[in-house]
Subunit: 205 residues, 2 copies
């Protein structure tokens, strides 16, 4: 548990409050488990703090649904019903994003779908629409060159206000790692899949 | 995203269903962030699958409260109100566990409090009271010798049914790592604390 005591106090002319209120860019990378799960756990924490949470999943199938989606949307509903926490949005790339009129717009064009997803996220970042963004598995379109890493870094660098962003996935580009405030590498030490087990509901999804 | 395809099928005489239904012991260790957060994210997923979730936090202060506690308890309330997901319990060591009559029973005796916590967890494991346990920061009492690692491993090995257990914390004992089905090491690559930032609500807790 962090004790909240910084290792050193920087000579940046900022007050503790100003420093405390800086937006965080976090990257969860590596071959191990827990990259997305830790990001969704952070989203749960952000919800509790009343932050406006938005998750963007850069996954192939819109049908694939992790338990965290239902749980975070349940928390979002709890916000609507009781005012607790903050609002929650969950968007999936699949064959097209939920905000697109035609779900077939990027059918079989994953690169186009990924670019459309990033364009919308960039628009929202510029507008300050959310307080906490999860860009789940976003490293892959970056790694594959579908979305330009430099443009992502520039957009993140100029984002107004205090918008926190967590990016997950293997092979995070080095430039993105360099731009992040918090980078964690999840390393696999042992995994039941190695022993021939299949995934199970409540554990794997 | 795991595709659910095992690297190999073991020659253990079990059917896929039997293998799928095996209880998982996971350990999140290492010096990086995300060990507890990923465990709480898994708890959120377990909640969604209708599993009976119980969190046991081996932390010094019962006053310290992470956002995940409120969020998971909100999901537990959602279960009570609407039947969605599963029930959620959250217990903290602090100066004494919530199930103890006298909160002062282990005042200033952290070793005794940790042992009392483990004794109760062992009782619940033997009785099959929950489906998904988070033993948060439990590696410390093991590392310090307050709770016997071999006894923990024996109790876990004989636990009936399909009770999943996630243990978090730095310096996980090697014997525990060896007994686990899934071990992830969270490695710190960069952290805002290093740049003199203090933690902030919604991000650090």
């Amino acid at each position: 548990m962090p004790q909240g005591v910084p290792a050193s106090v920087p000579d940046d002319g900022l007050t503790t409050r100003q420093r405390r209120n800086q937006p965080v860019l976090a990257v969860h990378t590596g071959d191990g488990k827990g990259k997305s799960t830790a990001a969704f756990g952070m989203a749960m924490r952000a919800w509790n703090a009343g932050l406006r949470v938005a998750v963007f999943q850069f996954v192939k199938s819109a049908k694939w649904k992790v338990g965290e989606e239902s749980a975070l949307l349940a928390l979002g509903q709890c916000h609507i019903d009781t005012g607790a926490g903050g609002p929650v949005e969950w968007h999936k790339m699949g064959q097209g994003w939920s905000w697109l009129r035609a779900n077939t717009e990027h059918a079989d064009d994953h690169a186009g779908a990924a670019r459309a997803g990033w364009a919308e996220i960039a628009r929202r970042l510029d507008a300050g629409e959310h307080d906490f963004y999860v860009l789940d598995e976003f490293t892959y379109p970056l790694d594959w060159g579908w979305v330009d890493t430099d443009e992502v870094i520039e957009t993140l660098a100029r984002r107004p206000g205090r918008q926190h962003v967590v990016i997950t996935g293997r092979r995070a580009p080095q430039a993105l790692v360099g731009a992040a405030d918090l980078v964690t590498e999840m390393r696999k030490i042992a995994h039941p899949m190695d022993a021939g087990r299949k995934g199970q509901k409540g554990i794997e999804w």
